[in-house]
Amino acid sequence: MNHLTDEQLLDWLSGAATARVDEHLAACPACRVAADAVSERLSHYTLAIRQRSAAPKLRSFSSYRRRWPHRLSWAAGSALVVVLVAQTGWLSWTRPQKTSVAAPTPTINMSDDELLEAVHSDLSRDVPQALAPVGAITEERNRLTTASSHLRAKSQGEME
């Protein structure tokens, strides 16, 4: 008999070897050494893997099965948030477009000449247009101060 084939060695490792294979292994030192070496490697590998992959303390099935409704509620909640964000985005996208069409800013329609004229008139003012109300108040206060000082001087003159 020739040396053992891989299939015969597999049968021997599986405890399903024929009597002929056993006889050969008893008579052939080379095959015996090879079979023992493979067997030793396998048992070492198996032991190492089994020890390393010993299951951790996993939770009972009932406990993690109950998590599914939570997972579903999370999924539903996430979907709702996405819908709300999308809706908000859509509204913010569409609203400015409507307002810009309905109420265009006056500056857009102002011609270059009109703009230059407005700037020139603004520069030629004593008080800038934006400060015009303040200017009016100051002017009124100065007028009242002058009037009161005139009255005071007049009354002093009459007393003298």
Binding site: D6, I49, R50, L58, F61, R65
Partner: protein
């Protein structure tokens, strides 16, 4: 529980429809094995634990489709192996592995070194080297061959059970196992 008892229990469960309590018993019986199979496929504690739970959830949701033609164990193994393959196929996993530069063999050996069973230091070194070589040899097998190898030698399933679980022909299982044995035999020949 013998195989026949298991089949009888399964049949009665199928007729009644598994309740959560009955399914708890199934989980308790099979969870260590399913975790081990997933760990062998993935070499990752966290992923194996997560997929073990997913495996039982998937089985529970699909319990109505279980006809008892195969044993519960075989059915669960099939689900677990498919989950592991889906996980490995996931491109994101590959992306993160590449990004982090993880060397699978080094990580694997580091995992297993912690459980070196040999007591003497010199023997431990030899055993560690042998284990490293065996890991490399197993790693070089195709994913299907690795699965078959683990189911046969770690889980001690018969060739028929493996064939049923993986939905392949028994001759294919034998062929994969022969390839694995050949790889281990080559290691010894290279050494000598």
């Amino acid at each position: 529980m013998t195989g026949m008892e298991e089949i009888l229990t399964i049949s009665s469960m199928s007729e009644l429809g598994w309740s959560a309590a009955e399914f708890d018993d199934i989980v308790r019986t099979h969870q260590a094995r399913i975790y081990r199979i997933l760990w062998c496929e993935l070499r990752n504690d966290e992923a194996a634990a997560t997929l073990t739970q997913d495996c039982f959830l998937k089985a529970y949701r699909a319990r109505a489709t279980f006809r008892g033609e195969a044993s519960v164990s075989t059915w669960l193994i099939r689900i677990a192996v498919n989950l592991a393959r889906d996980y490995q196929r996931n491109r994101r996993q590959g992306f993160w592995r590449r990004l982090l530069g993880l060397n699978a063999e080094e990580a694997e050996l580091a995992c297993l070194q912690a459980v070196d069973p040999t007591p003497a230091a010199d023997r431990a070194l030899v055993a560690r080297e042998q284990l490293r070589q065996t890991l490399q040899a197993v790693r070089k097998l195709s994913p299907q061959q690795q699965t078959v190898f683990h189911l046969r030698f770690i889980e001690e399933l018969s060739i028929e059970e493996i064939a049923t679980a993986l939905r392949v022909d028994p001759s294919t299982v034998k062929s994969h196992l022969s390839r694995a044995v050949h790889a281990l035999r080559q290691l010894r020949e290279q050494q000598s």
